[in-house]
């Protein structure tokens, strides 16, 4: 029995135990324990991350004469690490006080743990797929499993889940069609066969396959213009579930794109294909899709007044960086893209958990009804601070390193517009994350929040561990770049030469150890200067400048709504003009589609449908 078997078995065990033990109060802890076991098993497979041999699963099936097998290479291992890690964080967060409160409010934490575990299993299977068929099966499993997580909250969440499933089904159809074409061409679903045939395919075939797979997998990633389902669906999930979904779920699409389009079909082919009547190649087109996926969701996030929705929109936007980096096809870009998957998962999970902590105490995530919580929930603030610095891509957090790699490759490869697009995305991110932290943690403390306290330890520890990872991998990006390098090799891309602190190159290097040390040295100087002054007395927030007036307690003295009013005077009309038009037209298409789908699904409970899907997949396994 290989390590992979053990991993999958433990994962299955997790699913079964959480599924059976719905009524057990400490089910969360069991799930956490088992996920820890999964993580340990994965770490035992750690050689993969440093260029180790591919690990095969000892089981395999064959359907219709097509063999199905599972194996882990460095890329799968890298993604699996992120998956299990974020699931563990979410699960641990939900296990303690959060779960108790959730239960009190009528939720079922066991079901949440079950669906997280199920998602993990599905993703592990997907990541381990050794051929296109198992990839598809894994893909379907992931789609349905994440649906379960999305609709768990009920109410509006089911509606958004429905919207998701319409997209997902369409995507699955596209993937299926792609598979059918491949099967026709090669007569098998094996990766090697496709890779062998790929160079011989003609342009039309390449374009068709690329677009089909890009569409099919891109939907899961929330790439434009198929992004509309994602933010709502993620935001409505209970806190830890959101963290898990936001951190990794969409990246499955990226993984599939990596495997099929970049690894098997090959980017070089895409570069060769010119789109008629334009200066763009097919790859450029995909890059522009990615670039637009950065900008538009980021600026939609700027307008959100709900913390979770704001973050969910950013999740879509950050996906664009990963794709854009990977499509540049030089060691810097692809390393940046892959590293961003890891980095994004860490800070996004931290951010969602922090927001969940705020919701846990205040019962709201409406940015206009919060404020001043830093004095009450300093640890959550710290987590969010580290998270937003990471998300905005500012040193010293890890988000900066991956973005730096992407920028650098765009500069050196000479892609000014894409570079500018990604920088605009970053700037927009800075704006909206400041709004997030300002409206929740800074400013005037609302009186109804006067007496709340920091969330309990069971919730703070996962958050703090995540933020520690965000910082450490920012300080020593070499830790992650090792794994990334192996993944690059597995993908068949040139490997990035790196040091512990970053990258060494004549064209401009990055040494985060130095940069961070100097930055903290700077902070030390600042602190020295600051504390050389006389000590400061803390004052009440009503002891404040108000044009010489006396502030009174009944006055709302906190600027939160329409935070970038000046900016909106200029770009507000663009939202109406383009973003909203795009959105509304797409929504109308989707709603008509989902209207049709509604008829189909109306009589069933989604969970039941999920069960059907699982049965079907099991049938695949056995048959």
């Amino acid at each position: 029995m290989s390590m992979l078997d053990t991993l999958l078995l433990i994962s299955l065990l997790t699913v079964l135990l959480t599924g059976l033990g719905q009524r057990v109060t400490f089910i969360g802890w069991i799930a956490t324990l088992l996920l820890t076991a999964q993580l340990l098993t994965l770490l035992l497979m750690g050689k993969l991350g440093y260029g180790g041999e591919i690990i095969d699963a000892s089981f395999g099936f064959s359907i219709l004469g097509q063999p199905l097998n599972w194996r882990y290479d460095a890329l799968s291992w890298f993604f699996a690490l992120i998956t299990i890690g974020s699931a563990l964080a979410g699960s641990a967060f939900a296990a303690g006080a959060w779960g108790d409160q959730y239960r009190k409010e009528g939720g079922n934490p066991g079901l949440l743990q079950f669906s997280i575990a199920l998602n993990v299993l599905a993703m592990l299977l997907l990541l381990g797929s050794g051929d296109l068929l198992s990839l598809f099966i894994g893909w379907e499993l992931v789609s349905w499993a994440s649906l379960l997580l999305m609709v768990i909250a009920g109410g509006r969440a089911s509606e958004f889940g429905m919207r998701y499933i319409v997209y997902a089904t369409a995507g699955a159809m596209a993937v299926l069609a792609g598979l059918a074409i491949i099967f026709q061409l090669t007569g098998s679903f094996a990766y090697d066969d496709l890779a062998a045939v790929a160079p011989a395919l003609n342009t039309l075939q390449i374009v068709t396959l690329t677009l089909l797979f890009f569409f099919g997998f891109g939907i899961k990633m929330g790439l434009l213009p198929f992004h509309l389902w994602q933010a709502d669906a993620y935001a409505e999930t209970p806190g830890p579930g959101t963290a898990f979904l936001g951190a990794i779920s969409s990246r499955m699409g990226l993984y599939a794109i990596l495997v099929v389009i970049i690894q098997l079909i090959g980017l070089v082919r895409l570069i060769e294909i010119e789109i008629p009547y334009s200066f763009l190649s097919l790859r450029d087109l995909l890059m522009w899709v990615a670039a637009i996926s950065i900008i538009i969701p980021t600026f939609i996030a700027l307008r959100q007044s709900d913390a979770r929705r704001l973050l969910a929109w950013h999740g879509i936007g950050q996906g664009g960086y990963m794709l854009i980096g990977l499509l540049v096809l030089d060691p810097y870009g692809s390393a940046g893209g892959l590293m961003h998957v890891f980095n994004h998962a860490t800070y996004q999970a931290a951010l969602f958990l922090s927001v969940s902590a705020v919701i846990y105490r205040t019962r709201t995530s409406d940015l206009n009804r919060l404020g001043g919580l830093v004095t009450r929930m300093p640890l959550s603030f710290l987590v969010m601070l580290i998270g937003i610095i990471g998300l905005a891509g500012i040193p010293p957090m890890n988000g900066f390193v991956s973005k730096w790699l992407v920028y650098r490759s765009l500069i050196i490869e000479g892609m000014p517009l894409l570079f500018v697009a990604s920088v605009i995305g970053t700037l927009g991110t800075i704006l909206s994350v400041y709004k997030l932290i300002h409206n929740t943690f800074l400013g005037q403390l609302r009186l109804e929040h006067e007496h709340i306290r920091e969330v309990p330890l069971s919730m703070t520890i996962p958050m703090l561990v995540l933020s520690a990872i965000v910082f450490i991998t920012g300080f020593m990006p070499g830790l992650v770049l090792d794994w990334v390098g192996s993944a690059q090799v597995a993908l068949g891309m040139p490997q990035l030469a790196h040091t512990l602190g970053g990258v060494e190159s004549t064209q401009g290097s990055l040494d985060m150890i130095w940069v961070c040390s100097v930055l903290f040295g700077g902070f030390a100087v600042g602190a020295l200067l600051f504390y050389s002054g006389n000590k400061a007395k803390r004052v009440h927030q009503l002891d404040n400048y108000a044009g010489g007036h006396f502030l009174t307690a009944d006055v709302r003295y906190h600027y939160s709504d329409n935070f970038y009013a000046g900016l909106m005077h200029h770009i507000g009309s663009w939202y109406r003009g383009s973003f909203l038009w795009l959105e509304s037209s797409l929504i109308s298409v989707v709603s008509s589609l989902s209207g049709g789908a509604q008829l189909l699904y109306n009589s069933f409970h989604p969970a039941l449908y999920l069960l059907m899907a699982i049965t079907l997949s099991l049938y695949f396994f056995i048959g």
Binding site: I430, H438, Q444, G533, A536, Y545
Partner: protein, 301 residues
Amino acid sequence: MANSILLTILEVILMPLVAFIVGLFMVLMMRKLAAKLQRRVGPPLFQPLYDIVKLYGKQTQISHGLIHDIGIIMAVGGYVAAEALLPVPGMDGIAAKGGLVTLAYLMMVPSLGLALGVGQCANPNGSIGISRALTAMLAYDIPFIIVIFGVAYHFGSTNLVSIIATQQAEGIAGWGISEMPILAIAGLFALHASLGKQPFEIYIAPAEIATGPMVEMGGKFLGGLFVMQTFQLYTASVLYVSLFLGGGENWVTFLIKCFAVLAIPVLIAYLFPRYRTEDLIRLVWKWPVMLALLGVAFVMN
């Protein structure tokens, strides 16, 4: 090896110190030029220093909380760190280890720190100021980043040390400004906007938001901001000099270039009122961005 590390550390300590001193004189120059335009005498030579010492020497200080403190520390510290990435004659610091993009992003740390500190003050004037400051940053960083792209692409490196070395190797003809004049103009625009002087002074705006971010800052907090201002002026002008004016061959020419670069926006600033926010965005996204893109197009061909 250990020797070179020690040397780097020494440089890293020296560079902010130099920046502070030069920055003080830049503040003085700014105020003196304003005074001359307004037909008056202006402050004495050490006025910027007096202000800072006095502010740090305040007996009672008011803080709105830990983040208020940390914000100021970050604001000063971020710039102190940024100085180590800016090569000056004789000292490279860690410029080779960071590069242009790192510097550009490191310069956002002080803004972020300030934003956090101001946020904790719970004063809407400050929050509006920060919202405007970030909006202005969104506006001027786009031309700025295009300029950085153009320069980095032209010199084939994001390493400031090698960019400067390449320029100095060829004399004035090799300077960024002679090879990329359009980019240089766009860069000057972005520099002016990043200094937050009129007509881009939207986030200080005393008559509108009571000096915006500074509203609750007193004593050492305000002192920190004054220190930050010296660094800000220094960083902006030295960066411009490094990108377009061949950096510093020696301290004399270097300082002359820095002060001359800074004098241009300052002289413009005192003759104009401030824009409204959306007008600022419109202006900055139109002309400098257009120029910068044009410049990049020239550079890439």
